[in-house]
């Protein structure tokens, strides 16, 4: 299904909950409100014709230094979906503020979301409500801060951990 048709189906179904949609460089993208996120993902997965059976990627972007978006919602959580049967893709995004950086978990839809969400929590400090085991994935528990946030300086050192000698 061409990207425009996918976006149209999502707009028809979710109406006002669709904040924006575009097809920049051929990537169909839809931004939905957080409240409708899980429904939108489930719709993408289960709706005949869409059949997005693979959560190919889940990540986030910190927009706090993006020109023109300094004041807006700070984080965007980005889901890349792919359908093996239909061979089409869609990108679903939702926006959250820094003081309320939490998104409902998609673990019930796709088990791979478990690790992807742990990585986003690790790197961005976005929480996933309902996640069964929200530990850091790549860094260690004693690490302070979330390094892919734009206000985390790249040269900051963290104390070495390990058994005391």
């Amino acid at each position: 299904m061409p990207g425009a048709a996918i976006l149209q189906r999502l707009r028809d179904r979710f109406g006002g909950a669709v904040v924006a949609s575009h097809e920049h460089r051929g990537d169909a993208t839809v931004v939905v409100e957080r409240a409708a996120l899980l429904d939108a993902l489930r719709f993408c997965r289960d709706e005949p014709g869409l059949d997005f059976d693979v959560l190919m990627d889940l990540t986030a972007v910190d927009y706090s230094r993006y020109p023109g978006r300094e004041d807006g919602p700070r984080f965007e959580v980005v889901y890349h979906l792919y359908s093996i049967a239909r061979n089409h893709r869609v990108r679903v995004k939702t926006r959250v503020d820094e003081d309320d950086a939490a998104v409902p978990t998609a673990v019930d839809l796709w088990p791979i979301a478990n690790w992807f969400e742990r990585e986003v929590w690790d790197m961005f400090g976005v929480r996933f409500t309902g996640h069964p085991d929200l530990r850091r994935l790549l860094l260690y528990e004693e690490f302070v801060g979330h390094p892919l946030r734009k206000d985390y300086p790249i040269n900051r050192r963290q104390p070495l951990i390990g058994p005391k000698v």
Binding site: D27, V54, D57, Y66, P111, I112, W115, F116, L139, I154
Partner: protein, 461 residues
């Protein structure tokens, strides 16, 4: 038949405790790794054992985290190329090209026809190297050390080929946004034929050594299996997905570079166990060589043939003249700088790089030979200038050796990527590893871990 696995009761008598008192957890907790000799990767698996059986496993990763995505945000778009070498360091060329293609998609440019073919050929050579390494290490951990030596020998031939083209064996940094660093060397075709001949001989030997080998089959068949539904739910792609009978391959589903110009087959198997993954990888190597041979034969641009006719001057003297401002007539002089180190021959440069001046550095001859070339060079190198894609985002997927390798690049209109996300093909299989090893014996963990082909650099970034 393999010997009867040992349960605790067998060793200690029925109802044997652990000495920890009544009510204590009777299972044994053993951590494997992070640096275990039987695992070719820095990873920790916390297992809960009932005798020899794994009841529960928790996989811990991140020991090789180097902040790849953060580092990419610091420099210009091309500065991330060396970092991508270090993602999947067994097949770094694919990472280079996939990242470059993602940025090209963001820019909305096309690379030259010849470059598409070069990327295809080099990516397929890398894929063969990757599969060779995976099977070699798996077999070695099962005791077949001969197989390891034979396959590393074959990989050596291919790496020499890679070295001829890129100037390095591992950290090759050969891709560029808008093209590749340099054209293929003159004698590439016969060398590739020779390397493939050697590789095919090795593969024949390996088939005779492993495919029908009773010990190998007993250790691999039915071990580490994952159902088709679960494989898809865990977003596992690549050979592991094709081993459960799903013919998804990015090269076929969304053809990029030159994959749609040559005939080849997507290899699938049904069972989804370690043996099926082994068979898929073995067959894919042959398909990869098939793609590379056909793509090289179809490669446009013809033989590299530059006429010097006595007009050639020493490259160093040429550059010196340019630096002193003696540029009159310089651009008319055909010159050949080293294709791998200093610069390129001008016509060769045009063949493999896009013509967009906002993206690709001019050949060194132009930089030193004309003021326009010099300005073009500076406009791409100076901070605050460089490659500046318009605001937006793009996701480009290509088929890495272990599955879909995706790059999601966000631009804010500046000269540095605002965000680079690498979708690592290794991560989903590792996230599902506990599903493959729970309920099986601890000795089965070794071939399963081998067939997952974890690459730390890509998994932990």
């Amino acid at each position: 038949m393999s010997p009867e696995p040992i349960r605790r009761d067998f060793m200690l008598g029925e109802g044997a405790g652990t000495g920890a008192g009544p009510g204590a957890d009777p299972n044994l907790h053993i951590g494997l790794g992070p640096a275990h000799p039987a695992m070719h990767g820095i990873i920790r698996i916390q297992t809960e054992l009932d005798g020899e059986f794994i009841r529960k496993a928790d996989v811990e990763i991140g020991y090789l985290h180097r902040a790849f995505e953060k580092d990419c945000e610091v420099g210009g778009y091309n500065n991330a190329i060396p970092y991508t070498d270090r993602l999947n360091y067994v097949s770094p060329l694919i990472n280079n090209f996939a990242y470059a293609s993602a940025v090209e998609k963001l820019l909305g440019i096309e690379v030259t026809e010849r470059c598409q073919f070069i990327r295809t050929v080099m990516a397929e050579i890398s894929r063969v190297c990757d599969h060779l390494t995976c099977i070699a290490a798996t077999a070695m951990e099962l005791g077949a050390f001969t197989v390891f030596l034979y396959m590393i020998k074959a990989r050596e031939y291919l790496w020499e080929l890679v070295e001829d083209v890129t100037g390095a064996r591992l950290t090759i940094s050969y891709g560029r946004v808008g093209g590749v660093k340099a054209d293929l060397p003159d004698d590439f075709a016969p060398k590739m034929t020779m390397a493939f001949k050697e590789t095919r001989e090795v593969l024949d030997e390996i088939h005779r050594l492993l495919t029908g080998n009773r010990i190998f089959m007993d250790r691999m068949i039915g071990v580490g299996a994952l159902s088709r539904e679960e494989t898809i739910a865990y977003a596992i792609t690549g050979p592991m997905l094709r081993a459960v009978g799903v013919g998804y391959d990015v090269r076929r589903a969304q053809p990029h570079w030159a994959y749609d110009r040559v005939p080849w087959e997507v290899v699938t198997q049904k069972d989804g166990d370690n043996y099926a993954r082994y068979l898929v990888r073995m067959a894919e190597m042959e398909q990869s060589m098939r793609i590379a041979e056909q793509a090289l034969a179809l490669m446009p641009g013809g033989p590299i043939n530059v006429d010097f006719e006595g007009k050639a001057i020493d490259p160093a003297a040429y550059v010196d003249q340019g630096k002193q401002g003696k540029t009159e007539g310089l651009l008319l002089v055909p010159i050949r700088l080293s294709p791998n180190l200093q610069g390129q021959n001008r016509p060769l440069h045009d063949r493999v790089n896009t013509s967009d001046k906002h993206v690709v550095l001019p050949p060194k001859e132009t930089t030193y030979g004309s003021i326009e070339g010099l300005m073009n060079h500076f406009m791409l190198i100076m901070e605050g200038y460089g490659i500046r894609p318009p605001q937006g985002e793009a996701y480009f997927a290509s088929e890495g050796a272990n599955g879909e390798l995706g790059f999601y690049v966000v631009s804010d209109g500046g000269d540095r990527p605002y965000r680079v996300r690498c979708r690592p093909p290794c991560l989903p299989p590792l996230a599902a590893l506990h599903r493959m090893i729970e309920g099986e014996q601890i000795a089965d963990l070794i071939p399963t871990f081998g067939s997952v082909n974890m690459i730390g650099g890509e998994l932990d970034r």
